[in-house]
């Protein structure tokens, strides 16, 4: 228990810092690109790889897991060592963690543009990468806990609790949501179907936000804000309370992403209530952060780092206030599927995560390089540019979301829908332009930072191993252990009751899992049939091209929607959808009943529209999919896919996989034939045929005939 000399590992911090900056720029660049996709569809949609549908997932993944992810680890590795007064338990693990994570990112950057995706938002990566993520994540956690065990500071500062929470919950979320059945090396089907899949997905989706973008960053805030301001956090007690409050209930929220969907009402309400309760613990963090600076606002005016942090915390406050509001049915009815959601997440992303990361970088880089920041003035410029960027981004998007929603809902006196969907889209383009400008500004700011940090690094030298000293932990006081003894009697119940509790819970699950696997795939609507092999292939192309990023397949029970798209969606319709394709944004119209009723279009229409959307519907911002005409459909996978689907409970007859391809060819020929009539000489073996087949199938299960039977289910 003598005074020990040891060294903090700054190299790993630097590496993650570099990665953060690099991927940050990449992610924003892609973001800007997809934004431009919407403004100048013909120029920027370079098919197939740079089509919106393929790049948008890349943008979200790059920003969330590459930029923010590396930012988290950068912050962790610096603060964890210092809060625990020890070096990371194992440099090797640290390095594996770093390179592993970067590899995963690269893999994502390659697979997503290639259209290799599960189409589950923020979880698009295919199963081999999912496994890699799990492994790396475990290594990261292992390293962290090992470090905690050999710490020299007994008290675990509140930030560390947030780190731990992040590790545990993200692990659980990732695993539960990634239950999928591999079909080929790079193709899998989600274990769950339709409504269930949607529920799991958004339970994950929401908590990914909660535990990847919020808790870790709260932890970072609790370390870097006091450090930067050099004053203790406003109320440490509050920070502790709001952590435990958060952690006891946060993981519940989620269903609110599915309001008015085919999810049972009570489950929706559940989501609402809990999303709403969350405002309290969330604001605990914000209030604590801002009040930490009380009486130091003059310093904020001088210190650019504090400026970044303050804007970040404010943005957090706004986002966490808006979130629960958006989960209220009345507001959600307006906001959902529109750009309002986009604005909301970007206030969080650009404001809270982005600004906090920038602040931390500016604070941290000079320190580990033993120098001063190259130019405070430049950082200041960055701050203002970035702040403007956020405004230019958010305001047009809120506006766009609001107007589009209201346009969707307007009727003429004669009871007709006032605007066609296309009109709403063309109306939005100027807003999309403004949004792109905002994004460009924000990116410019980031580039300024890159230069600034580059010069800073140049003028300093990395202190790879920063010396520190602290005494080892002293032995436990015997006095305390003594007290254990005369209190053991009344302490006994707790562990006992807890044990029972856990046992009961585990029991409950074990008992329920089988029921779930059986029950979950029983169709509730007789007329709903499995997809034909061709439709199934077409659906997989639909997934590959990320159509769900612009087209929902979920008609909500509003007059404005049923008028436009037809009968609202029923839970029973999706029982064979692995994965579900409800989507979360309507840049294009809903496709749930694309093949049914008055929405139904001719094969030729679909063919031409996919070939050149603008030619068919002027003003459309949909990318061209002409390459589908050239690509030959790969039927070698049909057999595997049919088998997989059967395993998942889809009732394909025994041995059907053997005749599947025959059926496929027949159906393809019919469609091709109908196209030939309209003198479109396309071979039947092309992907576009499969896509048309799928689109024409959408929503056809429920004809007028059996609607009655459906509705009373």
């Amino acid at each position: 228990m003598q005074l020990e000399k040891f060294h903090y590992d700054n190299r790993i911090v630097r590496n993650f810092a570099y990665a953060t900056v690099l991927w940050g720029v990449v992610g924003m660049l892609v973001g800007l690109w997809v934004a431009m996709d919407l403004v100048f569809p013909r120029t920027f949609n370079v098919q197939p790889w740079f089509n919106f549908g393929r790049l948008r997932p890349l943008h979200t993944n790059a920003v969330i897991f590459a930029f923010v992810g590396n930012g988290i680890f950068m912050g962790y590795y610096y603060s964890l060592q210092r809060l625990l007064k020890t070096r990371m338990a194992s440099d090797v693990l640290s390095r594996i963690h770093f390179w592993g994570w970067q590899l995963i990112i690269v893999a994502a950057a390659i697979t997503l543009p290639l259209g290799i995706t599960t189409s589950k938002e923020y979880a698009e990566l295919e199963w081999p990468i999912d496994i890699a993520i799990t492994v790396i994540w475990v290594i990261f956690g292992w390293n962290m806990f090992a470090t905690i065990l050999r710490r020299r500071e007994r008290h675990l500062y509140v930030a560390i609790w947030f780190y731990i929470a992040t590790f545990v919950t993200v692990a659980v979320l990732h695993i539960v949501n990634s239950f999928e059945l591999p079909v080929t090396f790079l193709k899998s089907y989600s274990w769950y179907a339709g409504v269930q899949d949607a529920l799991v997905q958004w339970w994950y989706g929401h908590n990914a936000v909660a535990f990847f973008l919020t808790t870790p960053y709260l932890g970072l805030m609790y370390y870097y804000l006091p450090k930067a301001a050099n004053r203790p956090v406003f109320s440490y007690k509050l920070s502790i309370i709001h952590f435990w409050a958060l952690i006891f209930i946060y993981i519940w929220a989620g269903p609110h992403h599915l309001l008015y969907s085919a999810l049972p009402n009570w489950a929706q309400s559940l989501g609402i209530v809990f999303s709403f309760t969350l405002i309290f613990p969330s604001w605990g963090g914000m209030i604590n952060g801002l009040l930490t600076l009380r009486g130091a606002w003059d310093r904020v005016r001088e210190d650019v780092i504090l400026k970044f942090l303050v804007v970040a915390v404010t943005a957090y406050g706004m986002a966490t206030f808006e979130g629960p509001m958006l989960s209220l049915k009345t507001i959600n009815a307006i906001s959902h599927f529109t750009d309002w959601t986009i604005a909301h997440v970007h206030v969080g992303g650009l404001g809270w995560n982005g600004m906090l990361t920038f602040g931390i970088l500016y604070w941290l880089i000079p320190r580990i390089f033993g120098t001063q920041l190259y130019s405070r003035k430049l950082a200041n410029t960055h701050f203002w540019v970035a702040t403007l960027g956020i405004l230019f981004y958010a305001i047009p998007m809120y506006w766009a979301g609001f107007t589009q929603a209201s346009m969707w809902k307007q009727f003429t006196e004669s009871g007709q829908l006032k605007y066609t969907f296309l009109e709403t889209v063309t109306y939005l383009r100027p807003f999309y332009a403004m949004r792109s400008f905002g994004g460009a500004l924000y990116l410019t700011g980031a580039l300024l930072m890159v230069y600034n940090l580059y010069r800073t690094v140049r003028q300093g030298r990395l202190i790879a191993n920063e010396e520190a000293q602290a005494p080892a932990l002293e032995k436990a006081y015997t006095r305390h252990t003594g007290e254990h003894w005369h209190r053991w009697l009344e302490r006994k119940p707790v562990p006992f009751l807890l044990a029972t509790l856990v046992v009961i819970l585990i029991g409950g699950i074990i008992e329920m899992v089988p029921t779930f696997l059986v029950k979950s795939n029983i169709p509730t609507i007789a007329s709903v049939k499995p997809y034909s092999p061709l439709e199934l292939q077409g659906r997989d192309i639909y997934v590959r091209e990320g159509c769900y990023t612009c087209h929902s397949q979920m008609i909500r029970p509003f007059r404005s929607e049923t008028e436009r798209y037809g009968e609202y969606s029923k839970a029973g319709e999706f029982v064979y959808d692995h994965p579900f394709q409800w989507g979360s944004k309507r840049t294009g119209p809903d496709l749930a009943r694309e093949g049914a009723g008055n929405n139904r279009k001719t094969n030729t229409w679909h063919f031409n529209h996919l070939d050149d959307p603008q030619a068919i519907s002027t003003g459309s911002i949909m990318p061209s999919y002409s390459f589908l005409i050239d690509h030959v459909l790969d039927t070698s996978t049909t057999r595997a896919k049919i088998r997989a689907m059967r395993t998942l409970g889809v009732p394909y007859g025994p041995g059907y996989e053997d005749q599947a391809n025959r059926d496929l060819v027949n159906q393809a020929n019919q469609i091709a034939a109908s196209l030939h009539k309209d003198s479109i000489p396309v071979p039947a073996n092309r992907e576009i045929i499969a896509v048309i087949a799928y689109l024409q199938r959408l929503g056809t299960d429920i004809g007028k005939s059996n609607l009655a039977e459906v509705t009373n289910k």
Binding site: F248, P264, T478, M512
Partner: protein, 834 residues
């Protein structure tokens, strides 16, 4: 590094001529921030005294100057030299045993109470002690408890060395027999935390699992989910019922055994009923039960208690005389000097008392002469002289050099400790008046049972199957939690409001006492008047600036409180100058002399300055004479200074219809000024001994049973009075330093807000009553459902949190508002951080 055993009063190596500084400039001591001149400097920084300079140099040598960057002038003014033997008693094994928490030959763990701890720098320095003294392995602070936990290697250093180091850097640990600071227990507190945690966890999840039932209005599409949910709820409710709620059952049971229906009884009943009925419903599949309401009740209750039990960790409200005496004393035996514990002192022992030490027991002076003051005992800090054979009382503070005494009474029976030993007349009464909601709760329970009975009767006639539902649900819904919450949160928040005004209450029940006060007794010295500041006037031909500064320069050399007062006053009057100081000598208890720029100046008692015979008439009057080159120049009169705003406060209290009394330990010289401030009807008493004060209070209460007496006093001399008053408030200039046993500790800067505090205390009662009415209303609503046996779990689940939360919000808002209206002072600082 080796500590200088004592800081030499004339430090070697100090330049006789210090660098010039304009007289106007006010310089702050770089270490402790007291204003000072430029006579003491190092590295271009200036210090008020050598003490501060030494500490600075020590830190600087060890690269700990970060201390000065974290906070401006964080240091504590080092009070001059401490006698080398002062901490000798820490070498005494028996004493060590009492202090040391744990030791195996290799490491020793001990924790100290450091009242001086006040800022980030303190924490930083104290946690870096190891770099100041080899052998100290580890040190951790607990700021709010002002506690320092040290681990050191007994092989390399000793307890005494550690304490000496601490004392040297200005953090003299407060060590005493009842080791108030260090030995506070916090286990209970932990248990409560766990209970809240468990309840909170289970509650939030139970609520979660109950909602589906409610939202699907009982008709959930999938029945098996519903069963799963209710069984999970049951599982989650177990810890709440058996563990978190245990406290209520215990106390209710205790109450019942004493035939006394306390507030916990109805709660326990409600919880029990709710639980059993829910279990029955779930197992029989009849319904989802009321588990969410139950766990909610428990959680809110626990939270309420937690909130109310706010305690000020760094204060100790119940110190007895032991706290004031040194742990160890030096006894002279045939074998020579020995350290003995104070308790072991027996009649006839010869004790050695050194300068600035406290006389441990009443004793006969053996040495020719001793100069002591009874500042501790009587609040009077003017020195008195005792000669051989005279009796010196315990608690006296020795000013002159070391003397020996023969003990006549052991500590426990000494004159001063009698104050505590007389049985406290009130005895338990203080504890019984916990809170006036008890009678209420009694009625409440009775009424509730009555209603339940009526409902039962009705249904017995109408539809017997409904009896059970009706009765149980009325017990469930009418749980008095909102009643209890209203009280707990009201007082909890008031405690905090008082705290922000720097009035720190022992517990919530003190608010009750304060609200009933109608008679207020003030101690004068140190309470109404400043303990450290004084009104100084010069008698004789006015001093020229030159002379004044010269005298200041002399005074600056001495650490005697009187000299410091003089110096500060002179500096304030005439600004600083630079003088060469030579042949400085201090005669403890008499005065100081030195040659300042060639002029020989003497400063001190009449006897010392004029050379005439000394004696009580010479001292006692707070006179300091000064002579220039042997010629008497004049006298400084050092008189009491009253705190600002005392007159206003007095007026306010009189207007408020309080009966006021002022007791003073010293002579009636102040009578006229007091009269002016406190008006004719106030009763003034002078020359009151500590016992007189106590007796006075007792008489007040005996003569008029309706009198509820509030006593405000500082120091040991008021301890008895504070003890036997209905509410005793100890006034202190450093709230974290020792204060006598009391119900509350008041920072002297808030003394003049007493009238407002009392007004506020009274407003509390009103708030509670109002919120009671509110909660009664809620209960009526609930009951209206219950008696009709129509209480759906949903209603209960909504009503319970709504009522609780709204009541909590109401009382918190109301009390905060009241505080603002009564403008209770609000000062935010480390003490008030929650």
């Amino acid at each position: 590094m080796a500590l200088p055993k004592t800081i030499p009063v004339t430090a070697a190596g100090r330049p006789l001529r210090t660098d010039p500084a304009p007289a106007s400039v006010k310089t702050q001591c770089f270490h402790c921030g007291t204003s000072c001149d430029h006579s003491i400097g190092a590295d271009g920084r200036y210090f008020c005294c050598d003490g501060c300079r030494f500490v600075y140099q020590l830190l600087q040598e060890n690269g700990l100057c970060n201390y000065y960057d974290l906070t401006q002038t964080p240091g504590i003014r080092v009070m001059g030299r401490f006698a080398s033997e002062k901490f000798a008693y820490l070498d005494h094994p028996e004493i060590q045993q009492q202090l040391i928490r744990f030791t195996d030959g290799r490491q020793t763990q001990v924790s100290f109470y450091l009242p001086q701890m006040h800022c980030a720098s303190c924490i930083w320095l104290l946690e870096n002690l190891r770099s100041l003294q080899p052998g100290i392995l580890h040190s951790t602070t607990h700021f709010q408890r002002k506690e320092l936990f040290v681990v050191f290697d007994p092989g390399q250093t000793t307890l005494r060395k550690v304490v000496e180091l601490l004392a040297f850097v200005g953090y003299e640990p407060y060590i005493s027999l009842d080791n108030a600071g260090a030995r506070r227990e916090r286990k209970v507190n932990r248990r409560q935390l766990i209970r809240i945690g468990v309840a909170g966890f289970c509650f939030s999840n139970i609520m979660m699992l109950s909602f589906p039932e409610y939202f699907s209005s009982g008709s959930m599409d999938l029945p098996y989910l519903r069963h799963l949910f209710s069984y999970l709820n049951l599982a989650l409710a177990l810890p709440v019922f058996f563990y978190s709620a245990a406290g209520f059952f215990e106390s209710a049971w205790k109450g019942l055994r004493q035939r006394w229906l306390n507030i916990d009884a109805p709660i326990a009943l409600a919880i029990l009923v709710t639980f059993t009925r829910s279990v029955y419903e779930i197992l029989s599949g009849a319904g989802p039960g009321y588990l969410d309401s139950m766990s909610g009740i428990v959680l809110f209750m626990l939270a309420g208690r937690w909130f109310q039990d706010k305690t000020y960790d760094s204060f100790s409200f119940d110190r007895d005389y032991k706290a004031y005496f040194p742990l160890g004393v030096t006894v002279i035996t045939s074998a020579g000097e020995q350290v003995a514990t104070i308790n072991s002192l027996a009649k006839g022992d010869q004790v050695l008392v050194r300068s600035r030490e406290m006389v441990p027991a009443d004793g006969i002076l053996q040495s020719p002469e001793a100069r002591v003051d009874y500042s501790f005992v009587s609040g009077e800090n003017t020195p008195v002289i005792r000669r051989r054979g005279e009796l010196i009382y315990a608690g006296a503070n020795l000013l002159s050099g070391a003397v020996t005494l023969e003990v006549v009474r052991p500590v426990s029976q000494s004159y001063i400790t009698q104050l505590w030993n007389q049985a406290d007349p009130r005895g338990d009464r203080k504890n019984t008046e916990k809170s006036f909601i008890h009678p209420w709760s009694r009625y409440f329970t009775l009424v509730l049972l009555g209603i339940a009975l009526l409902a039962a009767l009705y249904w017995w006639v109408a539809d017997p199957t409904q009896i059970l539902p009706a009765v149980t649900s009325s017990l469930i819904v009418a749980c008095p939690c909102s009643l209890l919450l209203s009280a707990t949160f009201t007082y909890g928040n008031m405690l905090r409001q008082f705290g922000r005004g720097h009035l720190y209450l022992k517990n919530a029940s003190v608010i009750e006492s304060l609200s009933r006060v109608n008679t207020i007794v003030f101690d004068k010295t140190g309470t109404l008047t400043h303990a450290t500041q004084a009104d100084i006037s010069f008698e004789g031909r006015p001093l020229e600036p030159g002379e004044a500064r010269a005298i200041a320069a002399l005074a600056a050399q001495s650490v005697h409180p009187m000299s410091r007062l003089l110096r500060d006053w002179l500096l304030a009057q005439h600004g600083t100058g630079n003088y060469s100081v030579s042949d400085f000598t201090e005669y403890p208890g008499h005065g100081t002399e030195a040659r300042i720029d060639g002029r020989f100046i003497r400063l001190g008692s009449r006897a010392f300055v004029t050379g005439g015979d000394s004696g009580p008439q010479g001292s006692g009057t707070g006179q300091v004479l000064v002579s220039l080159d042997g010629a008497l120049r004049g006298a400084f009169r050092v008189g009491n200074r009253y705190r600002d705003g005392v007159p206003e406060m007095a007026a306010g209290l009189l207007a408020g219809g309080y009966r006021l009394h002022v007791l003073s330990g010293d002579h009636d010289a102040e009578q006229d000024r007091l009269r002016k401030m406190f008006g004719p009807q106030t009763i003034l008493r002078f020359n009151q001994s500590p016992h007189d004060k106590r007796a006075y209070i007792e008489r007040l209460r005996d003569d008029d049973p309706s009198a509820v007496v509030l006593m405000l006093g500082d120091g040991l001399n008021d301890a008895g009075a504070l003890l036997c008053s209905d509410a005793g408030i100890a006034v202190s200039e450093h709230v974290s330093q020792f204060t006598p046993a009391s119900d509350a500790i008041l920072d002297s800067d808030s003394l003049t807000a007493v009238d407002r505090f009392l007004a506020y205390a009274r407003s509390g009662k009103r708030v509670v009553t109002q919120s009671f009415v509110l909660s009664i209303l809620y209960n009526l609503v609930g009951l209206s459902f219950a008696v009709r046996a129509a209480l759906s779990p949903l209603v209960a689940a909504i009503l319970m949190p709504v009522s609780s939360v709204s009541i909590v919000l109401f009382v918190t808002a109301a009390t905060s508002l009241a505080a603002r209206r009564r403008n209770v002072p609000r000062r935010d600082d480390a003490h008030t951080t929650l």
